[in-house]
């Protein structure tokens, strides 16, 4: 037990979705690498669940500059230009990496990578493998990882980052048996994904609990735009326990139509030019409005219909959707799906440079745990590209760090031990806190927000943070610490939502009337560093 369980590596990667694995295989070129994930490697992240695709400019008829403009416009001009530039210019090279490593993407008749249209883009630039694109990417990355010398630690949860002075120097971990461990590293990469699990209704895997935001925040890193939570317009509504399960945007990309209970294609009212293929923020609000105003189905959904498409197209391009719905008793070839918005992607997160450096030395980040790439609303297909572009960049930057003698602050180790012993004396079930948090976030910090609801949420989260979590066995340590991470992340989301006194992208404040368009907003990023938080002002737009 305890700190005899100590290992060292050059680069420690936390998280094993698309960004984490990509970072690990890149960092391995520079020294020893360990990848730690709280699930079986590759299974936990949202990458493996990603269905629709990967945006990359591959055709001469398309242009990187157009992908840039689409991304920034879709992001309501809150994106960091340098990050977007990196994303759009490098996405093509990174999909070629995957292809060279064995990825089995759909090809056109002339054997080039096939691309389909996705929302908010002026060109069909979304590459795909049926509707299991993320699974295909993860299998490819896993093959690459298994053929490397990266040390893989499955089902090990990071409880805290450890520092040597002002630099990050490793992490305290707990394995599935409840054994504590210490991993020291010259550099650490956070690739822990998002936090959809803060919400009652979400597309995210159960691993999407926002640990990286909380770990980075407690290590002193700057986070931005945490209020920017994307609600995907189309989540499942039935059965009750599967509410929120992702219905891929590819359904609309392939020609799926949205209709309300009266059979009206209501997108005419919200975005007549782009209709179903408008950006996710707009489509999600449209669905929420239709449902709130009583034009939804009796189970609180909107119809998403592909019955007019040839059965063969559905079978070939949307096989996962077809089989999932069949298992719930619905044949989407013959009857419409019912959908409703669901918490999907965190656009905010750790503030990074184009080289994936956070504001804390030796701490790097990639993928959904970062902020700035997608601004206030992410385009479908940009997240998978994000994982590969910034995963590789984080791997390079971390790999290039000079080796250092790591003297770990003993205080943090004893703090972790004390915290764990307190958990055995707690009185509140972990599941009870999580349930209350999720429904609070869904009700008060959802698509439509106002100051009153947010203030209530702020107070309630503080109360939940005051409750004493209880565990009964060492295997429950990870779950309790993850719950604390969820509360920490939730408080940042609420704080950002209060700070941003405008509607922008995915963040909609119904209590504020604003005169400006997103492009001329006087506000920049919200930000959070330790006890301080604020919102940047864009002087030029004042």
């Amino acid at each position: 037990m305890g700190w005899e369980n100590r290992t060292d590596c050059h680069v420690l990667v936390i998280g094993s979705g698309g960004a984490g694995i990509r970072a690990a295989v890149e960092a391995e070129k520079y020294g020893t690498v360990s990848i730690i994930s709280k699930t079986i490697t590759g299974k936990g992240g949202c990458t493996v669940m990603a269905e629709g695709g990967y945006n990359a400019v591959l055709s001469d008829a398309d242009a990187v500059s157009v992908h840039f403009e689409d991304t920034v416009k879709g992001g309501a001009y809150l994106n960091d230009a340098a990050l977007v530039e990196a994303l759009v210019s490098e996405a093509p090279a990174r999909i070629r990496d995957l292809f060279n490593w064995g990825a089995v993407f759909d090809l056109t008749a002339d054997n080039t990578i096939a691309q389909r249209p996705f929302g908010g883009q002026r060109f069909a630039r979304t590459c795909y493998a049926g509707d299991h694109t993320g699974h295909e990417m993860v299998m490819t990355l896993l093959e690459r990882l298994r053929g490397s010398n990266v040390e893989i630690h499955d089902e090990t949860t990071v409880l805290e980052l450890v520092k040597d002075g002002d630099r990050v120097a490793g992490a305290v971990t707990v394995d599935r048996n409840g054994e504590l461990g210490l991993v020291t590293a010259d550099a650490v990469i956070l690739a822990t994904g998002g936090a959809g699990q803060l919400y009652d209704v979400t597309t995210n895997s159960t691993a999407g609990t926002g640990d990286g935001y909380a770990l980075g925040y407690r290590a002193g890193a700057k986070l931005i735009d945490m209020e920017q939570v994307q609600f995907h317009p189309t989540g499942a509504v039935f059965p009750a326990d599967s509410r929120g399960r992702l219905i891929t945007e590819a359904v609309r990309g392939e020609g799926g139509l949205l209709r309300n209970i009266h059979g009206e294609r209501f997108m005419e009212k919200y975005d007549p030019a782009r209709m179903e293929l408008s950006t996710r923020d707009i489509v999600a609000r449209a669905l929420a409005t239709e449902i709130l105003e009583g034009r939804g189905t009796s189970s609180g959904g909107i119809y998403l219909d592909v019955t007019h498409l040839p059965a063969e197209q559905i079978e070939k391009r949307l096989p996962v959707m077809l089989s999932q719905f069949l298992q719930f008793g619905i044949d989407i070839r013959c009857e419409p799906m019912q959908v409703a918005p669901t918490a999907h992607h965190f656009m905010g997160g750790l503030c990074i440079t184009a080289q994936a450096e956070t504001t804390v030395p030796r701490l790097f980040a990639a993928g959904e745990v970062t902020g700035g790439v997608h601004g206030a609303n992410r385009l479908g297909g940009n997240a998978l590209a994000d994982t590969q572009v910034f995963g590789r960049r984080a791997g390079i930057s971390a790999g290039k760090c000079e080796p250092s003698a790591k003297s770990v602050d003993a205080g943090i180790l004893s703090a972790v031990e004390e915290k764990i012993s307190r958990l055995y004396e707690g009185d509140t079930a972990v599941s009870s806190v999580q349930k209350r948090l999720k429904s609070l976030m869904w009700n008060n910090v959802g698509i439509y927000r106002n100051e009153l609801d947010l203030k209530v949420a702020e107070r309630e989260v503080r109360k939940l943070q005051g409750e004493r979590l209880r565990i009964t066995s060492p295997q429950e340590i990870a779950g309790a610490c993850i719950t604390e991470n969820m509360l920490c992340t939730a408080s940042l989301v609420i704080s950002g939502a209060l700070l941003r006194r405008e509607s922008r992208g995915a963040h909609t404040r119904t209590d504020i009337k604003q005169k400006w368009e997103a492009s001329s907003s006087p506000f920049g990023h919200t930000w959070f560093v330790g006890e301080k938080a604020g919102i940047d002002i864009v002087e030029a737009n004042l």
């Binding site: 299974k43 059965p239 599967s242």
Partner: protein, 481 residues
């Protein structure tokens, strides 16, 4: 909802035990939601895996009422029994899948920097083998794993996935042989339990075996069998007058002709165990079925297809199709599950192929008298999964047997060329089956496959009756009563 969950804590328990829980869940709840409810309401220490909740990550595979399923997709039912996969156990429902993952090969691209030569055709071929979510349900239920050093279905699937990929530079065929390619009995259990329905036996095992065979890597017993078929058209040597030598070209029924069928006898019933086939003729006659028996029919080729020695297959297919097409029948009956499955799945026939049990139940049959004794039924894999025939043999058996006791399906080890090529492995699979049979306390086993019949008798020591023979016995009792 009440469920039983198998619990095991390695620190305190010598053996796993079941606990029953009563929890409240919503309509349409999945097994995973029930596990969540047990954890939240009853015992926070319950260990189980879960991630995507949408059947895409493969974390949550468990056994529900004995059969593998993804907990996140399987609808929960009152009384469900939830156990871990049949893999080394860590705690509660969590198993150690690391050794299985270690068997999965990765692409070796060599110096490939521009893989633009991959074609849409390659993608179409590889894609069906690419959907694996590494849930290891197949490994958990494969009868050959545990009876041999076989790496298991999904490891072989991965070999073929790489073998098909022009970017891959390694020799996946030889590797597959080392991983136990010839240990698969082609029982198709892996397909049945796969959440993605990946057809590993047909799309990976048999394809890799064909390539291994082309390189001379076949097992010696398979090579001599292939030589026998090529020289005689039969997989069984003639030792005494065969079925085809003993019957006329047409057998007229007793009384009114209700239908006319062709009869495909298969090598085993033609030359090794002739009596059940003769019995079947009597059963058909009794039920008003005229039987046409073309004498030019030959081996269906099943032993060749399963073992990869496929060079002679087109000729066999042509001769058999011609034999029955010339006879002018629109339905051909088989009574060997292996022949039936091969004619249905590996042939493109201008006539319908039906198993004798399928046909009798469909067209109606005369009730026999009950034959004394306790009977159980062994599902031949090539009937159950090869032809999706489960109920019909049971209908017949219930009408003919004094007492019928159920037996859960499991491969007996006789198929896929394993019995001829690796008899010791077939015997080990058979020994497991024998234990299951023993638990039924049956006096007799009934089945519809001569390979199963032969092998089950060897491993159980019990008399194994063919379904047709039992029916005939019932008719004879009826007549003498």
């Amino acid at each position: 909802m009440k469920v039983s969950i198998s619990r095991f804590n390695p620190e305190t328990d010598a053996e796993p035990h079941f606990e029953t829980y009563d929890v409240t869940v919503r309509e349409g709840a999945r097994v995973l939601n029930v596990l969540d409810a047990v954890r939240d309401e009853c015992d926070p220490s319950l260990s189980y895996r879960h991630c995507c909740r949408g059947g895409q990550c493969g974390s949550c595979a468990v056994r529900v009422n004995g059969e593998p399923a993804l907990a996140c997709m399987q609808e929960a039912k009152d009384g469900d029994i939830i156990e871990p996969l049949n893999l080394p156990r860590i705690r509660d429902l969590v198993t150690d899948i690391a050794p299985a993952i270690a068997q999965m090969a990765w692409l070796s691209a060599g110096e490939c920097r521009d893989c633009s030569y991959v074609t849409a055709g390659d993608v179409e071929e590889i894609s069906p083998l690419r959907e694996c979510i590494e849930c290891f349900s197949c490994l958990s239920s494969c009868p050959a794993v545990g009876a041999s050093t076989y790496a298991g279905p999904t490891a072989i699937r991965q070999q073929q996935r790489l073998n098909l990929d022009p970017r891959d530079k390694a020799d996946r065929v030889e590797e597959a042989v080392e991983k136990g390619l010839f240990s698969c009995t082609t029982c198709h259990k892996c397909v049945e339990v796969c959440p993605k329905g990946i057809e590993t036996p047909r799309k990976a095992v048999e394809k890799l075996r064909a390539q291994a065979a082309a390189r001379g890597l076949s097992l010696p017993a398979h090579k001599s069998l292939a030589a026998l078929i090529e020289s005689t058209g039969r997989s069984v040597e003639r030792k005494e007058p065969t079925f085809l030598e003993r019957v006329p070209d047409v057998i007229e029924p007793e009384g009114e002709v209700r239908s006319t069928v062709g009869f495909f006898v298969g090598c085993m019933f033609n030359a090794r165990v002739v009596q059940p086939a003769l019995d079947a003729m009597d059963v058909l006659r009794r039920n008003g079925i005229r039987v046409i028996i073309p004498k030019s029919q030959v081996c269906c080729g099943s032993p060749l297809i399963r073992t990869g020695l496929v060079g002679f297959i087109p000729e066999l297919q042509e001769r058999n199709i011609k034999a029955f097409a010339d006879a002018g029948v629109d339905t051909v009956l088989t009574m060997c599950a292996g022949c039936g499955s091969t004619l249905k799945n590996d042939y493109d026939t201008p006539f319908r192929v039906a198993d004798i049990t399928e046909f009798l139940v469909e067209t109606g049959f005369e009730e026999p008298a009950k034959v004394p004794g306790t009977y159980t039924y062994h599902d031949p894999c090539h009937l159950l999964r090869g032809q999706h025939i489960k109920e019909q043999p049971r209908v017949l058996l219930r009408s003919a047997a004094e007492t019928f006791v159920e037996l859960a399906p499991r491969c007996c080890g006789a198929g896929g060329g394993v019995k001829s090529g690796k008899p010791e492995e077939a015997a080990r699979i058979g020994a497991v089956r024998a234990e299951m049979v023993k638990e039924t306390k049956a006096d007799y086993i009934v089945t519809v496959c001569p390979f199963c019949e032969f092998h089950l008798h060897q491993v159980t020591g019990l008399p194994v009756k063919n379904m047709a023979s039992l029916l005939l016995e019932g008719y004879q009792r009826k007549d003498s009563a």
